[in-house]
């Protein structure tokens, strides 16, 4: 199967997922509302002292996106599950990797948009000062999102089709996300603090390395997960 065909297939699936999402506005809006709510809850748990809350900002933002994101990941398979379309989708000629790629793209768009909103709210609530190196910050957030979406989409392929999917996805996903989360949060923290220790670069490089490893691993493993 040619790469171009795969890419077209992936785009088609991503587009299908995103339009289904757009039509059900309730989906995106409620998940984002949940993320913001979680962020506020963190504010109550960790605030109101200024310094404590500023230190906690990166962690709170990423966790809020993570907790709300698991709902999005499970739901990204919901459409096919409801209509029994998953078996049909696999039957189409072409690699299952295109399915994975398509879902990755759709989920990434979803999470990226959610991150933008949550970060905006976080900057306000947690008294964050935007650093001059904010383009680098955008890069780090993007890389963190890639890692999050890669593993989330992969494990949701199984969790969404099991019993107790709301419990199973976090249980499987969270421990696996430790490296990505640590790198993303530490890099964010370093940048927000003006990168005094200079370790933002090291964490960023680690984050990219993690993304590559997990992208490759999940692409290889997805075959086994979707065919059964």
């Amino acid at each position: 199967m040619s790469l171009r065909q795969d890419w077209r297939r992936a785009r088609a699936i991503a587009w299908k997922d995103l339009t289904a999402e757009r039509r059900s506005k309730a989906g995106f809006n409620s998940v984002v509302a949940l993320a913001v709510t979680i962020l506020v809850m963190f504010g109550f748990a960790l605030g109101p002292d200024g310094q404590a809350i500023r230190d906690a900002a990166p962690g709170a933002i990423w966790l809020a996106v993570l907790f709300a994101g698991v709902l999005a990941f499970n739901r990204s398979y919901q459409v096919e599950l409801d209509g029994g379309a998953l078996e049909q989708l696999i039957l189409y000629p072409g690699t299952r990797r295109a399915i994975f790629a398509g879902k990755l793209l759709a989920n990434f768009a979803f999470v990226a948009l959610m991150l933008a909103i949550v970060i905006a709210v976080g900057i306000v609530l947690f008294q964050v000062t935007i650093p001059s190196a904010w383009p680098a910050l955008v890069g780090i957030v993007a890389c963190g999102a890639i890692g999050l979406v890669t593993l989330g989409t992969f494990y949701a392929a199984m969790a969404s089709r099991s019993r107790a999917r709301e419990v199973l996805l976090p249980l499987l996903l969270f421990p696996m996300l430790v490296p990505v989360l640590l790198a993303a949060i530490q890099a964010t923290k370093a940048l927000l603090g003006g990168n005094v220790m200079g370790d933002a670069g090291a964490w960023a490089r680690l984050l990219v390395a993690f993304d590559v490893v997990f992208l490759v691993a999940t692409f290889l493993a997805f075959e086994f997960v979707i065919e059964v």
């Binding site: 421990p175 696996m176 964490w203 680690l206 086994f224 059964v228």
Partner: protein
């Protein structure tokens, strides 16, 4: 008329040989622990607390070895699709969880008198905790998936990814923190303790092998029972035709 078992290639295990090995493993462990405690002098800094090393370090080593076992059998399953490999991987994961939990508790029992706190977020303890959670997730997956083929294949994928994540987690947590003393590895351990440590490491290894094997054989019998019930449920012409 004797019935024919429908279970495929599942031979009922000969528990006698296994039991003998089990007895040997346990007695050997007791002996090694006794020897180690008897011949080791109190450490300069830690005093008698040093003795914990003879259970904590081997437990930690087994905690690293067991996921490796899961990885190997998970890969074999994905390659050959033999059910035995899936059952072995699952048995190894269960034993791994037990050893991971043990390592954590022993780590805490060491940390408290040494640093005054029950938990330090240092690289090794934390990585072990994450490994514990990864394994727990693996077992939860198996518990929540009923379709046998799905369960085996998904477990294998999750097992492989989980196993390769272990060194990655360790690396990232180490970047994050560094407090844990380096005295646990034999290269930096005082000569007086190395023998006791190696002996106990082997003893733990034997015990772990025995436990995995025992759990695996229990799984085999479970499978045989499942096969029988299924065969009956599907109606074995012979039995009913005799009425």
């Amino acid at each position: 008329m004797t019935h024919v078992a429908h279970s495929p290639s599942v031979t009922l295990p000969r528990t006698n040989r296994l039991s003998i090995f089990g007895w040997f493993a346990f007695l050997f462990l007791i002996a090694c622990q006794g020897i180690a405690i008897a011949i080791s002098p109190p450490d300069r800094d830690m005093g008698d607390l040093q003795k914990i090393m003879y259970v904590h370090v081997p437990a930690a080593w087994m905690t690293m070895l067991a996921p490796l076992t899961v990885l190997v059998f998970a890969l074999r399953y994905l390659w050959k699709r033999r059910e035995e490999d899936d059952l072995l991987a699952a048995a190894a994961a269960e034993v791994a969880v037990a050893f991971a939990g043990l390592t954590l508790v022993l780590g805490m029992l060491w940390a408290r008198p040494t640093w005054g706190v029950w938990w330090t977020w240092d690289a090794r303890l934390t990585s072990t905790l994450v490994l514990f959670l990864i394994l727990a997730g693996y077992l939860a997956l198996r518990a929540l998936v009923d379709d046998r083929e799905q369960r085996a294949q998904w477990s294998a994928a999750v097992g492989v990814l989980g196993a390769i994540n272990v060194p990655i987690v360790y690396m990232s947590v180490r970047w994050w923190r560094t407090i844990h003393q380096i005295q646990s590895s034999p290269s930096t351990v005082d000569h007086a303790y190395v023998i006791g440590l190696r002996l106990n490491a082997f003893a733990f290894l034997f015990v772990m092998i025995y436990l995995i094997r025992a759990r695996y054989e229990a799984s085999l019998i479970e499978r045989a029972a499942e096969h029988e019930s299924e065969a009956i449920a599907l109606g074995r012409g012979r039995g009913t035709a005799h009425e």
